[in-house]
Amino acid sequence: MQNLWIIPALPFAGFLINGIFGRKLPKALVSTIAILSVVLSFAWVLRVWLTAGDLAVAPLHEHHFTWIQSGTFNVGWDYMADKLTMIMLLVVTGIGSLIHIYATGYMAHEEGYYRFFAYLNLFMFFMLNLVLGGNFLLLFVGWEGVGLCSYLLIGFYFVKKSATTAGNKAFIVNRIGDFGFSLAMFLIVINFGSLDFGKVFAAAAGKPTGVLTAIALLLLLGAAGKSAQIPLYVWLPDAMEGPTPVSALIHAATMVTAGVYMCTRSAAIFTHAPLAMEAVALVGLATAVFAATIGMAQNDIKKVFAYSTVSQLGYMFLGVGVGAFSAGVWHLVTHAFFKALLFLGAGSVIHACHGEQDMRHMGGLKKYAPWTCLVLACASLAIAGFPGTSGFFSKDAILTAAYEHAPWMFWVGVFTAGMTAFYVWRAFWMTFWGDYKGHGHPHESPWSMLGPLVVLAVLSLGGGFFFNVPQILSGMFPLKEAGADEAMLMGISVAAGLAGIAISYFMYVMRPELPGKFASALGGVYTLVYNKYFVDEAYDAAVVSPVIQGSESLLWKIVDKGMIDGLVNGVGSQAQSMGGVLRRMQSGNIRSYATWILVGSVLLLIALGVSGGMTR
């Protein structure tokens, strides 16, 4: 028995302690509890990883208690762990611990310190549930739970309206995704009679393609919500309202990749639904390009990385979509390294510039914050796919698979890679080169923050070597032997990356006046891109305001108050007026009363007498 439950339990304990007593406890203690809980669960993960034997052959299963039972259907609170799980666990707990450590420094001077760490631990708990869950429903538990935590953490500065609004947006958009997810689950139960991964995937092969496609597409909708894919990506950029460690942990490294994990987990279903696979690939690709273009025109450093996250997630989906699940997961892992690093670095930059986020007011930081500069360079290299860095391997794996699937996808992917390299390095140059345009004196961050950065830097540089996911997962997703022209493809993608770096250097270091010119030259296109294609505005105009307006003026005021209540009250007033008529008959005059009696008796006489006459 590996007691997997300990893994989520530790952070949960941390959450409880900090959540309930945190306000009274000293910050030091709070942070120790928080960090300890995560680190310990990381340790436990390692222990399991080392002692658990070959998970590919015998995945771990733990049934704790029956959660829901109705008729023949039942869902247990089951944890299961195979290699995929373990990778996710390592990433989540590992990076989780790093970011916790980092946060102690970053949040040192914030209000509600304890609250922050409580939420963070809660997030870890749910994320680990998501990963460990042995059936769709338990996965869904984590799925919604992390959504909740992201809502809480985005709205951490709850006095800021923009923050809380962003939080709501995140939650609600995710709900739309979950709508798809839950429908998928209903279909699964109808067709498989269970939600256990084991049962479902075992039976998947036998089911009609139509059903599987429907399920897969609905799952994709869910994944798109969680992993910020078109059309539901809109929440992620706003999510940057949250503190930077949150952006790093939740909106870069772990939560947003849940979609990828879920698709990979349900590979058995997807592989039998080619149409859905195609959809996944297209969505991924489209998102990748789309987000990348936006990323090129942003000036808020976190926004840049946010869009880059969206785009990179698109990459992962591309990988999954073209059937290279392991590649997708690999990119997930490496991306976790360098994107976390990018965000944390950005955090340290912001920290250095006293909370300034606009890159146009930065620059020349390399002499004020050398370490930050260095680690960000590593990260940027990795994301640009510089040969040897972790990003290089994973991205390459995806692109190769894409090429085998459909060459044009490869080309688009490469082009995106170029753009990625461009905007990341654009950000890099704008931040560290040139001279400082901000206010105050920028300063290097404390070691509590730099420490994790360094670790991550090492990972994002070397992660590709000692973290060969396809190898690890070969048990689940057999490796393809390298195609003939792989070297060539590799070359092309690297070239694209380098080109991107070069162009950005040219434009932002050698000829800093160029970008402005470009912008004015491009004109309309530029404003379009700069404003993120007005997607938010479009959604607002097309969906949000009509719904609210309609509900307010039509449903509430007209239907509810006007029609239904009007009808009810109308009946009442009718009754009253009928009473009024009767009043007027009651004239008080004896003779008219007598007349009524007379009339009544005449009618009675006729009725009875005549009816009597009829009978005989």
Partner: protein, 511 residues
């Protein structure tokens, strides 16, 4: 005189006793009623422990003839369906009393006494196994709630109270007609016997008769639920009622309707129920979406919660008329969930009202800064009511939707929209009330929870988590009963159709 009778009798006794107390010291009446309600709750827990799971029939039965002719029985008993609803009633009454502890200023003794009378009626409704008795309790509930709203309510209380009374009255008189008609057919009001006669085909109704009877019952229940478009009494009643009133109304009284549907409409008139399921479900779904949309734009917290109830109970009706085990289980479980979570919402809104004396969302904002615990508990409740997994509502909603999906996937698709929308209106309200800058009034008038309020809210929060995490405590009993009911809906249906309309059906023609 078994435990159940005790649970029924205690509140009544408390009611009388409280009325007899001297007007001079109201505190006494508070204590007495609280004591009674607590004892009742304790006793009712005995029902849980004594309840034998595994036998779907009634338990704790007491059955003796109350009125000779027409033969009317005092026949009470519980099964998995009524058990938890009774517990819900007994569980919430002490909380309601605590909630009103300081809030009620004038005529306290009457107020608290009426709460006990209400409890008496509610328990009775859920325990009755005699149609007449059921109707008696059904009406008994009406009066205290009418007075609670009308006397201790807010500005438009009278309009709300009368509206509430008349709405319910109209529905229930038709039900009375149906009950009497059944009596003329069956010669008894004893529900068990009537069911037996149905299933043995000794009563056989013509198709029209069955449909009309079904509709008569259904209307009464649908108004109580309330099912769109019969819901407009609810917002007024909630907004005008004192917090305790809203609490009991939303948490327990609305369940009378859904309970009636499961208990009576399905087993007695399966054919009609199945035939009419189509439009009923349509109304339920409209209610789900409509309620949510209207709730979204309410400026008043209680109204918002009220409309959210319309939406939530739409789920219950949906589950009931899916005629699937899961749907039914979910529906019943959802009754309890709604009782807990919406009850908690009204409780918390009540706390806010006691502080700020306003229900307008606009008058709040930034409460989280000054009252962190209040806002955290409110958040948990909010999350529960929008169906976050590991909290109670999720289990219910999931089962309902799953069950419905097994019946008609298209229904589920539309109903699930409600899940999205619920997040919209609840979170939006939460944001406007608790987040943002803290205004001066709020800063000064909104302290954090005090001990009494903790005592009120904590049990509910605990229940939310318990019911969300370990539904096995509650569901098995429910499932067994539901399985039986479903069995009846299947069993009775063919028999009725088979019954030769010439021989048996012919002699039952009303005009």
């Amino acid at each position: 005189m078994n435990l159940l009778d005790l649970v029924i009798a205690l509140p009544a006794a408390g009611f009388v006793l409280a009325l007899l107390l001297p007007r001079s010291q109201p505190q006494l009446s508070r204590l007495v009623t609280l004591a009674f309600s607590l004892v009742t709750f304790a006793v009712s827990l005995g029902l849980v422990t004594g309840f034998q799971s595994g036998m779907a029939g009634q338990q704790f039965v007491t059955n003796f003839i109350w009125i000779q002719s027409p033969e009317i029985h005092y026949h009470v008993g519980i099964d998995g369906l009524s058990l938890w609803l009774i517990i819900l009633a007994t569980f919430l009454t002490p909380i309601a009393i605590l909630l009103s502890w300081n809030y009620i200023k004038d005529r306290q003794k009457e107020f608290f006494a009426l709460l006990l009378l209400l409890e008496f009626g509610l328990v009775g409704v859920f325990a009755s196994w005699d149609l007449f008795l059921f109707y008696v309790f059904w009406e008994v509930v009406l009066v205290p709630m009418y007075l609670l709203i009308g006397i201790w309510g807010h500005d438009r209380r009278i309009y709300a109270a009368v509206k509430f009374f008349l709405y319910t009255m109209v529905g229930s008189v038709l039900m009375l007609a149906a009950i009497i008609f059944l009596y003329t057919q069956a010669g008894t009001f004893d529900y068990a016997v009537i069911l037996e006669q149905f299933s043995s085909g000794r009563i056989s109704l013509t198709h029209t008769q069955e449909t009309l009877l079904f509709l008569a019952f259904f209307l009464a229940f649908a108004i109580k639920v309330p099912l769109f478009p019969l819901h407009t009494w609810l917002p007024d009643a909630h907004v005008e009622a004192p917090s305790a009133g809203s609490l009991m109304l939303a948490s327990v009284m609305l369940k009378m309707g859904t309970y009636g549907l499961v208990r009576f409409c399905l087993p007695m008139f399966p054919t009609a129920a199945r035939e009419n399921a189509g439009w009923i479900v349509t109304l339920a779904i409209i209610g789900i979406v409509y309620g949510a949309l209207v709730a979204m734009v309410q400026p008043n917290m209680k109204k918002l919660v009220a409309y959210s109830s319309v939406s939530h109970l739409g789920f219950v009706v949906l589950g009931i008329f899916s005629f699937t085990q899961m749907g039914l289980d979910g529906a019943v479980y959802q009754m309890l969930n709604h009782g807990i979570s919406t009850g908690a919402l009204f409780l918390l809104v009540g706390f806010l009202y006691e502080r700020r004396h306003s229900l307008e969302i606009a008058d709040y904002g930034g409460v989280a800064t000054v009252a962190p615990w209040l806002s955290i508990l409110f958040l948990v409740t909010t999350l529960a009511s929008i169906g976050l997994p590991t909290l109670n509502n999720f289990v219910g909603e999931f089962l309902v939707l799953q069950g419905t999906a097994q019946a008609h996937l298209s229904w589920t698709v539309f109903a699930s929209l409600g899940v999205i929308l619920s997040a919209c209106y609840m979170l939006w309200m939460y944001q406007r009330v608790f987040f943002g800058e803290t205004s001066e009034e709020v800063r000064h008038h909104v302290p954090d929870l005090n001990m009494r309020e903790w005592a009120c809210i904590v049990p509910l929060v605990v229940m939310m988590i318990w019911m969300g995490m370990y539904s096995q405590t509650f569901l098995p009993a429910v499932s067994e009963t539901n399985a039986k009911i479903l069995e009846q809906t299947r069993a009775n249906a063919p028999l009725r159709v088979a019954a030769p309309s010439t021989s048996a059906g012919g002699q039952f023609h009303g005009r």
